[in-house]
Amino acid sequence: MAQVSMTVNGRAASAEIEGRTLLSTFLRETLHLTGTHVGCDTSQCGACVVHVNGEAVKSCTMLASEADGAEVATIEGQANADGSLNVIQQAFQDHHGLQCGFCTPGMVMSAAALLKENPKPSEAEVRAYLEGNICRCTGYHNIVKAIMAASGQDVSALAAE
C-alpha cells in the first residue's frame, strides 16, 4: 500500500492505495470521478484521457503514484465556474460531436490540450492530434468540426452538419 496525494480539479485528494493502482482506477473507484472512461484498458482508445500538470495523458497507462503531487484535471472539472459548459463542451453539444458519448470525455480533454498548444489548428492538425482517440459512432466529422468551432474558426465550409 502507498499513500498518494494530488490535486484533482483544484481540490486536494489523497488516499492509501495499492502500488499498482492505475490513475484511471484511482479516479474512478477511489474518487468516484466516473466521467473518465475506460474503453480498452491498454492505452489505445483515448476514452481515459485526463491532464496531468497540463499535459494530456491516457490515465489507464499511468500509475496513480506517478501522479503523486501533480495537478490533475478531469472532464468533471472542465465546466465554467458558474456551471455552464466551457467553449469546447458547448461546441461538442452544438455541432453534434457525440452519439453514445463514451468517447466524449476523452475527446474533450484531448481537444482542450490541443487548443492550449495550438489555439487555431488546421483541420489536418486536429485530425493528426486525435489519432489516439477512437470514436466508433460518429465517423469523426462532427468531432473535428466541434473542435474547429471551439477554436473560433468558421466551420460553415466543413460541409454536412
Binding site: 474512478r28 468516484h32 470521478l33 466516473t34 466521467g35 473518465t36 472512461h37 475506460v38 474503453g39 480498452c40 484498458d41 491498454t42 489505445q44 482508445c45 476514452a47 478531469t74 472532464i75 468533471e76 472542465q78 465546466a79 459548459l85 469546447i88 463542451q89 458547448q90 461538442f92 453539444q93 452544438d94 453534434h96 457525440l98 452519439q99 453514445c100 458519448g101 463514451f102 468517447c103 466524449t104 470525455p105 474533450v108 486536429v126 485530425r127 493528426a128 486525435l130 489519432e131 482517440n133 477512437i134 470514436c135 466508433r136 459512432c137 460518429t138 465517423g139 469523426y140 466529422h141 462532427n142 468531432i143 473535428v144 460541409a159 454536412a160 452538419e161
Partner: protein, 761 residues
Amino acid sequence: MSAGAPLPHDAAHLHVTGAARYIDDIPVPANCLHLAFGLSQSAAGRITDMDLARVRQADGVVAVMTAADLPFANDVSPAAHDEPLLATGQVHYVGQPVFLVIARSHHAARRAARLGKITIAEETPILTLAEALAANSRFEDGPRIYTKGNAAAAIDKAAHKISGTLHLGGQEHFYLEGQAALVFPQENGDMHVHSSTQHPTEIQHKVADAIGRPMHAVRVESRRMGGGFGGKESQGNALAVACAVAANLTGRACKMRYDRDDDMIITGKRHDFEIQYTAGVAPDGRIAGLQFTHLVRCGWAMDLSLPVADRAMLHADNAYHLTDVEITSHRLKTNTQSATAYRGFGGPQGMIGIERVMDHIAANLGLDPLAVRRVNYYQQGAGQTTPYGQIVEDFILDEMTDTLTVSCDFAARKAQVEDWNRNHPTLKKGLALTPVKFGISFTLSHLNQAGALVHVYQDGSVHLNHGGTEMGQGLFQKVAQVAATCFGLPLQQIKITATDTGKVPNTSATAASSGSDLNGMAVKAACETIKTRIAEHLGAVHGAAADSVVFDGGRVIAGAHSLTFAEAAASAYQARISLSATGFYKTPKLAWDRIKGTGRPFFYFAYGVAATEVVIDTLTGENRILRADILHDAGQSLNPALDIGQIEGGYVQGAGWLTTEELVWDARGRLLTHAPSTYKIPACGDRPKVFNVALWDGQNREDTIFRSKAVGEPPFMLGISAYSALCQAVQACGPTFADLRAPATPEAVLAAVMRTQAGQG
C-alpha cells in the same frame, strides 16, 4: 413544432461534462462483488478435468462456479437453447466461458480466472467455411433456397456468362463501452438488473430462467449503452445471468464487465461470408439470370444466425430487378465465436454480393459500372417484385442517383480519374457510385410491436417511457420530440427515462433500425389517449367540442378559453381524470413465410446513394478514401442533425468493415486480432477528406411516425461504394477483373493488383 428540429442528443450536456452514467459508473455498495469468466483455450474437445483449487485460494476470491453449480437453466442463448452460460463437458471455441469467478474486485476476479487448470481432450476443430461444408456441419437440415423464375435456364440462354467468388470478412463491433451488467438482489429473491443491452426483455427472460423464478421477479433497466451496433442484442445475456446467479448465491450486488480483450475473444461478431455467383448477362449489361450461393460462418451456436442469413438473401437483389434468380444459403457451424447481429443484420453481406456482380459485368463487358447499375435498377411504378415477391412501390433511386451525380460532379470527376490513371503508373484512382435499398421491419413478424407509458403530472410535466433502448443513435430524443409535438409542449417539459421492463413489458430488441418507427408510434398513441381525455374534460367544462380543443405552444385552447398545459392537467386531475396511459403499436401490412421465401417481410424500403473516390498505391497496396458524397433517404426526418450523424457514422463504419477491419484466427482457432492494437477500426485521419452528406427531401409513402424513415442501419451499406471504388482502382492496373477480397487491406489490394497486372483476375 419539435418533431423535425435538428436538436442535439438529449444527453449531450451530460456527456460533455462526464456526468452521463454507464453501467460501470453506477454507485455500488462497498461489498459489491465482481465477476470474471475462466475461458476455454481449446476450440473443440471434451473437458476431462478441471482443477480450480488455485482459483478458489486466490486473493479476494469469494466463490467459484461451474456448470454443476447452476441450480436452474444454464442457458444464455436467444432462441435455440444451445448456448450454456458455462460449458457442460464439451467446449466449442477458444474463449468459451467454462467457470465463473466471484471476487472482491474486478482485478482480483480476472487474476484468479487465469489460475484455473482445464484439461481438455482436444478434437479437430472445424474453423473455415470449406471445412464446415465438407463436414456438413450446419444449422437447419440443409440450405435455404429462395427462387423466382428459372435462373439456370436464363443464364444458359444469355449472351454472356460471368461467375466468381467474393470472400467477405466479419467485423468486430468495438462498441466503445464493453459489455457490462450490474445486479442488485432484492427482497424475496427478486433481482434488479442494470444491463448495457439492446434487449432488456430478453435479459429479463434469461435471468428469470437462471434463478428459477417467473419474469415478474426480475426488473431490467437500461439507460444507455456506450455503443451497441447489434453487439448488445444477445451478447449481454451471459454477463447479466452470471451476475444474477452470483447475486443469488451471495446475496450481494454483483457486477461484471469484460475488459477489451475478453470482450473481443468471447463475444460474437458480424458473420463472414463466401459469396459465389453466376450471372447470365445481356450485351447491355442487363442481368438475365443470377445464382448466388451464400456460405455463412455462424460459429458454434445458433444465436441469431438464421434471421441474419435470411436477411442476406433478402438483400441479394439490392436495387436491381431480377426476373430469374436463385439464392442458396448454407448456415455453417464452426468452432469459432457465435456470430451475431451487427448493424445491417446480414443485409450488407447480401447487398455487396450483387454490387460485386455489377462491377464484374462492367469489367468483362467493357461497360461503365454506373451504366450497368442503372440499366438493372428497378423501374418505378412498373409493379416489379423482389426475388421474394414483394412489390417495389416507391423506387426513388433513379431520381436520387440523378441528383447525386450532378451534386458531386460525377461524370467530370470520372473523366479526371481515367485521365489520372492513364498518366500515373504507380498511384491509381477509382470512383464508384453504389445504391442502397434496405428493407425496414423485423423479418420475424411478431417482433414488429412496441409499447409506451406516458404520465402527465399535475404540474404539466411529462414522464416518458417506451421499450426502445438508447445506444447513441438519439432514439430517446427523437421519441421525446414526438411526445412534445403531440402535446404542443416545449421539449424541456418531457422527461426521458431509462428503458425499464417494469414500466413497459414484452419489448422487442432495439434493432432492425426500428427503434423510432415502433416506439415513436407507441408513444404517439399514449399521448393521443391522454390528450383525448383532457380535451373531453375541457370541452365539457367550457362548452366546446372535444375535437376542437387545440394543444399548441404550451397551451390548451378550448373554445374561448386558453389554459396553460399545467392548468389543463391540474383541472383534469381535480376532475378525477386519469393522466396516465399506455400506448401500443404494431406494424401493418406484413406477411412473410421464411421457409418458402415469399411475402411482404418489409413495411417499406429506405434508400441511399454514395459516391466514393479512392486512391491506391500499386507498390504497397496502401489505400485512402479521398472523397465521399452521400444522399440518403430518411423520409421526413424526425431530427436531421441526428439522422446525418447516423449516416456519417454508418458510412465510416461500413467502409471500415470493407477496408481496414480484419479479423484473423490462427490454425487452432484462436482470435489473433483481439485488441485495437491489431484490429484497426477507422481512426480520425482515415475518414474522407471531403465528406458531403445530404438528406433526400421526401416523405415516407407509408404512414410511419410523421412520415419519417428508419436510419440506423441503411447508411452502413453506403460504405460499399468505397469497396467498389477500390475494385475500380485495381481494375485500372490490368486487363482482367479485379478480384479483390474484403476487407481490402493493403495486403489484399496488393495481391489483387498483382493478379490483375498478371492477367489472372
